[in-house]
Amino acid sequence: MSEELSPEIVAQHGLSDEEYALAKQIMGRAPNLLELGIFSVMWSEHCSYKSSKRWLKTLPTSGPRVIQGPGENAGVVDIGEGQAAIFKIESHNHPSFIEPYQGAATGVGGILRDVFTMGARPIANLNALRFGAPEHEKTRHLVSGVVAGIGGYGNCVGVPTVGGEVNFHPSYNGNILVNAMTVGLADAERIFYAKAAGIGNPVVYVGSKTGRDGIHGATMASAEFDEAAEAQRPTVQVGDPFTEKLLIEACLELMATDAIEAIQDMGAAGLTSSSFEMASKGGCGVELWLDKVPMRETGMTPYELMLSESQERMLMILRPGREDVARAIFEKWDLDFAVIGRLTEGGRMKLTWHGETVGELPIDPLAEASPEYDRPWVASPTPPSFDPDSLPDHDPAEALVRLMASPDLCSRRWIWEQYDHMVMADTLQRPGGDAAVVRVHGSRRALAMSVDCTPRYVKADPLEGGKQAVAESYRNLSAVGAEPIAITNNLNFGNPEKPEIMGQLVGAVKGIGEAAAALSYPVVSGNVSLYNETNGKAILPTPVIGGVGLLGDLEKMARIALAADQALVLLGTSEGHLGQSLYLRECCGLEAGAPPPVDLERERALGELVRSLIEDGLVQACHDLSDGGLAVATAEMALAGKVGATLEGPPEGMDPLAWLFGEDQGRYLLASRQPERLLERAAAVGLPAETVGYSGGEALILPGGGAISLASLSEKHEDWLPGFMDGEPPQN
């Protein structure tokens, strides 16, 4: 059927010699170009998870609430009253570096499709962003483009963007991270899966027409970066949020009928991976009539149609006789609708072009044979140590201002005000708190959500860093009063072929797994992004955790805003841990020491206590302690409430700066008018709690060093980002 392809062509498709040999063995002959293209995308890191699979398998993925764990387009958890939350996070790192606006926008579009393809109406978007050093010449342009792109897409589709996180660090100079998360709501009885069934059933294509977009985008997304990346620019795609909005409405309308047997978005590797996944999950074969695919351009080839990554497309298997119902709905929404094939016996994929067979592959062997590597790894070196006693002395007030105005801690208002975070009129807690809270429409219940990772901890100790990311997520949800129910995760790492990078991945996944198990906080979905390197330099390991929690009654919810005349009660143990702290980095210029250890049993007990205190109405405001420790948490609560606060000195023998800025884990700051009740309740369950200050006035007063007026603190906190972005040339 075809003679041997040249080694150059095989190499261009990113297949190793072993992989190519395996491909020939599976085919029983040499693949033709179309078939080779299919192998190359199916076996790319992005689609096959060949480096991470072995470790992902170790994650705890089940629990009483889990309806669907990893393996589908998104994870599904039971939230009671017959409803389910469906969510997932996904990276769009390389495309966003190449073209920030479109890269970020299409990232949002892609994760939305993963969620509504399962029958959920998307109700919230979040994003985890990592940029290079502020002084790097590309950073401003990238921030402005990525933020505009996320807003441009999310605002138009009408899904509120309610939360996220942003870090700046030189290790991301040439390789930013854009991770987008979508949370959706569905009827637990009406979840849609990708498992094809029903020999002879029609394969239906809906959405936008197929163009020559991002051909090889999937392979590019996992090829290590270098300056030559610039040359790959044309592989970037343009998103069409308007069409996506129509697609959401049309799909949900059709899902309300009984027409759909299976459905799958066309994400990375478009028609190839969507048709393969559906057929292999259903254990059947599929025949695709490629000339029937709606095309945007003339002269398109089968190869281009199978590999195109044009956005806003879905593939469905319809039940017999339901074509007209479906067609009518998509025509009503002015979307393309085409029957492009049918399910067949005997698991082969047959591709035809005007009646002539142009490619044929066995489905399961190809899927099963997809490579899985046990890559060599080495434990991460212990970070440089530092001598706490030799640290420069700082005025606490000045140090606090410096931290609150630093790139990683300053206000993100400039960003979230460019996102519509209120559309759908269910946003109970807007950006700026510990977790965003979105009401379950028409009910008294709500979902809390946040994305978290502290890459500097993970770099210093992948295991502790992995645990910490999950623990912080658990804390952020508990701090608003929500029961943490499940997580999604986005593993962003460098080149896994390097043992030290693989060591970071192995350590972080182990940490995430331990924490998820100890906190009954299972992993239900996720995504892996590897080869995040430029010219051989890797990013900080960044395993982002997206957490979702449930609030049974929206009246029983805590916020971070202080009011006057409240006592500040600190829950948890403070030892003044400065290793890897933001204070050490921003005020002492050191990225040193071990990260704060995480005591998972303690985290669980503290979370339960905090939630019960909020539930019982004993807490007027609550904030977990993280970057910047006690002083920063207090300052954030004061700014949110526009009321001052006074903090008392450290326990005997602790350095005041360590007390104020130490980042010991497992701590919450509670504001209450009945502090003694809190102390009793903590003592009753054997957890440490102490009153550390009180609210009131118009200034922040720190032990052993001065006061800062809220007004000036607020100004410094608010001004950094807009100031930094000022003078940014307008984006195309």
């Binding site: 936008s208 020559r212 977009d213 620019r233 044309p234 970037v236 069409d240 002015d334 195309n732």
Partner: protein, 80 residues
């Protein structure tokens, strides 16, 4: 003099606005409308009398700012 930069999407790049305009025109009853593409028109006053110099300067501006070469191309027009 005055320079006109016509910025258009590269031919293979999706143009959602263009297709939306085409559909709208058809719904308004205009027939025989083929492909529609929407681009930008940037008009720049330059105090530069020499055509060659002006051309070079505008081209530098396109590279530096006006054109997103990832997805766009441009055409230049000078008018004294």
């Amino acid at each position: 003099m005055k320079a006109r930069v016509h910025v258009t999407l590269k031919p293979a790049v999706l143009d959602p606005q263009g297709s939306a305009i085409k559909n709208a025109l058809e719904q308004l009853g205009f027939s025989g409308v083929g492909d529609v593409r929407q681009g930008k028109l940037i008009e720049i006053e330059l105090n530069q009398s020499d055509d060659q110099a002006a051309k070079a300067e505008i081209e530098a501006m396109c590279k530096a700012l006006l054109v997103n070469e990832v997805i766009e191309t441009y055409r230049l027009e000078l008018e004294s």
